[in-house]
């Protein structure tokens, strides 16, 4: 299997033109393999996390925790679902024609791409200036805990683990992957719009040389097929029973006090206020 499709341009230069569309299947299989391996790991090897907080500290923190802990504001949830919808449209319009479903997809694709770009721009500004920017990035504690979890799964004794902050490590890693893949498709996609007719730019297929265009198409394709695996994994994790409360929080905006105390470390994710029944949270957050 070739990873990249090559061609000769009119000047006889060998240039990349696309990724091999076989990678679409490779990515889909990788996504399915991930969920199988993860399900087996959780079912058979993963050990329960030991309580790492001392009781008095936990009790003091618990006393301040409201019944509903605000997790995602309305704006953040709206961003997530707009991004999700545009992502699905992008994936369907990109790959259904590749698997034999024929329809006129180009305009729908770039319109969805514009929606994705605007929503991501909003998210970057929102997360940078109004939210706790660093809460979604993996930190030293995450790495140490991941290492300990793995050792525990292998049956070795480790020091006590800490609970997660606002976001579990899986969330953070997924966000990081989506960040790179998303920025890759957006940057390359915006330039690729110069190759088609849109109301935004004067079409200019000679904006870059053939090699640069080729690399751009390959990057766009790689990130695109990568999203197939990423989205498969994301949906799988979203519907897993032990993580479903996080998915619900992306709809309703809050998690229960019990779930908060069960899964989150009040030191790493301090909560001082709850969410009114139909109100918005002011708690710091980053959404993926």
């Amino acid at each position: 299997m070739n990873f990249i499709q090559w061609a000769l341009n009119p000047w006889g230069e060998r240039i990349p033109i696309h990724v091999s569309w076989d990678l679409l299947w490779a990515s889909a299989i990788a996504g399915v393999l991930f969920l199988i391996v993860h399900a087996i790991y959780v079912g058979y090897w993963a050990k329960p996390v030991a309580e790492s907080q001392n009781d008095s500290k936990l009790a003091a923190a618990a006393a301040r925790v409201p019944e509903r802990v605000a997790r995602h504001s309305f704006g953040a949830r709206t961003f997530h679902w707009v991004m999700a919808a545009s992502m699905f449209v992008l994936l369907f319009t990109a790959f259904l024609p590749k698997v034999g479903v024929r329809f006129s997809w180009v305009t729908i694709h770039w319109v969805a791409g514009i929606v994705l770009t605007i929503s991501v721009l909003y998210h970057i500004i929102h997360a940078t200036f109004w939210l706790d920017f660093w809460s979604i990035w993996p930190d030293k504690q995450d790495v140490a805990d991941a290492s300990r979890r793995f050792q525990r799964a292998l049956g070795r004794a480790t020091p006590p683990l800490k609970k997660f902050g606002k976001y579990p490590l899986e969330n953070k890693l997924f966000h990081l992957s989506v960040l790179f893949a998303g920025l890759a498709v957006i940057f390359t996609g915006l330039f690729m719009m110069f190759r088609v007719r849109t109301p935004f730019f004067t079409r200019n297929p000679y904006l870059f040389g053939d090699m640069t265009w080729g690399v751009m198409y390959v990057l766009h394709g790689l990130a695109g097929v990568g999203f197939v695996a990423l989205i498969t994994a994301h949906i799988y994790l979203a519907v897993r029973p032990e993580k479903f409360f996080l998915t619900k929080s992306m709809i309703f905006g809050w998690i229960s006090r019990g779930k908060y105390l069960e899964h989150h470390d009040p030191e790493r994710w301090p909560v001082d206020e709850g969410v009114p029944e139909a109100g918005q949270s002011k708690a710091p957050e980053v959404v993926i």
């Binding site: 061609a7 341009n9 329809f103 006129s104 088609v196 265009w213």
Partner: protein, 337 residues
């Protein structure tokens, strides 16, 4: 890119005698198979060494594909019927005069003797960038060389382009659309009959194909119902060389009038879009209107709505407008005569 025109690459040649055998061969060789009808498009590709199929399925020995027969209230023309046979067939001439007129406009007598109606409607785009083997969109690449600031695009599309701006080169296609023809396709899953209008696809739907045929599919016949039999027809083809050339633009129409007013109209053109274009808006807009210069003028202006010429094919806009006018007026002229 060097183009070698002496020896075509080797391939395995099959000459099945039944449709079933042909389908079995197509199924066996999949995307590596090439269906050969008259060979007038195919051998260009082979000689230029741009298409290199492993297996060529020559349909010339399948007799049932070369028959013209009456079915129900219309005609069924085998896909391997030559254009000359279509031109000369008495029933076709008598009832569906539009089709022989269009078929007779194809290329030269020698080519019409060899070329088939199935091949004519299924031939590939004639864009020279594509035919030269450059990695354009239609060839699976990521650029249209014709739609560039310096591209040679005099013959290309002014409507419905989507990345690729090549046009469909068929002369019989608009005539078949106007006659409401049905394309009979044998697929691995059985027989499929589609309207001629839906047989052709644009680059937005699939940029690498001109028709809905997929690997393994075979166009076996074209059925022409009596819907438009005996109507007033008009066909005109404008080309650079009147003795032998592809159309710059062609137009086909069928009209039924009553009391001096247009009762029914079908209008299709080729050479203006990536696929043969049925002008439904014009058809609807002129219904019930009198057949006169004013209606023709109105139809012509309506037809070119949305046209986006490239830098070298702006002439196609007035050409399209005038051909539509003439299609309406021509019919009027015949009626008057």
């Amino acid at each position: 890119m060097a183009v070698i025109r002496d020896v075509i690459p080797t391939f395995e040649l099959f000459q099945p005698v039944t449709i079933e055998d042909a389908l079995a061969l197509l199924a066996r060789h999949g995307a590596e198979a090439w269906v050969l009808a008259g060979g007038l498009d195919s051998f260009d590709w082979f000689a230029d060494r741009i298409k290199r199929p492993a297996a060529v399925i020559d349909l010339s020995q399948i007799k049932e594909l070369s028959e013209v027969r009456s079915v129900g209230d219309g005609l069924e023309i085998g896909a391997m019927t030559t254009l000359t046979e279509v031109v000369r067939h008495p029933i076709v001439r008598e009832k569906y005069g539009l089709l022989p007129e269009a078929a007779e406009a194809v290329a030269s007598p020698q080519i019409r003797n060899q070329g088939t109606i199935g091949g004519n409607v299924s031939q590939d785009a004639r864009c020279w960038y594509y035919r030269a083997g450059w990695p354009c969109y239609r060839a699976g690449g990521n650029i249209c060389y014709a739609d560039t600031p310096t591209g040679m695009n005099r013959e290309h599309a002014i409507l419905d382009a989507d990345r690729c701006v090549a046009v469909n080169p068929s002369d019989t296609a608009p005539a078949l659309i106007v006659l409401d023809a049905k394309m009979v396709i044998r697929t691995p899953r059985g027989e499929r009959v589609v309207n001629a209008e839906d047989y052709f696809i644009g680059p937005g739907t699939d940029i690498t194909r001109m028709t809905i045929l997929r690997p393994g599919d075979l166009l076996t016949a074209i059925r022409i119902p009596s819907t438009w039999a005996g109507a007033q027809f008009y066909f005109e083809k404008v080309r650079d060389r009147n003795v032998w050339d592809f159309a710059l633009v062609n137009v086909a129409s069928a009209m039924v009038t009553s009391g001096g007013k247009i009762e029914r109209l079908r209008l299709a053109m080729n050479g203006v879009a990536a696929h043969p274009l049925r002008l439904k808006t014009v058809e609807t807009a002129v219904l019930g209107k009198p057949r006169n210069e004013e209606t023709a003028e109105f139809a012509g202006k309506l037809a070119i709505q949305g046209a986006k010429p490239l830098q070298s094919n702006g002439y196609k806009v007035p050409l399209m407008r005038n051909l539509v006018k003439r299609a309406i007026r021509g019919v009027v002229g015949e009626e008057a005569a």
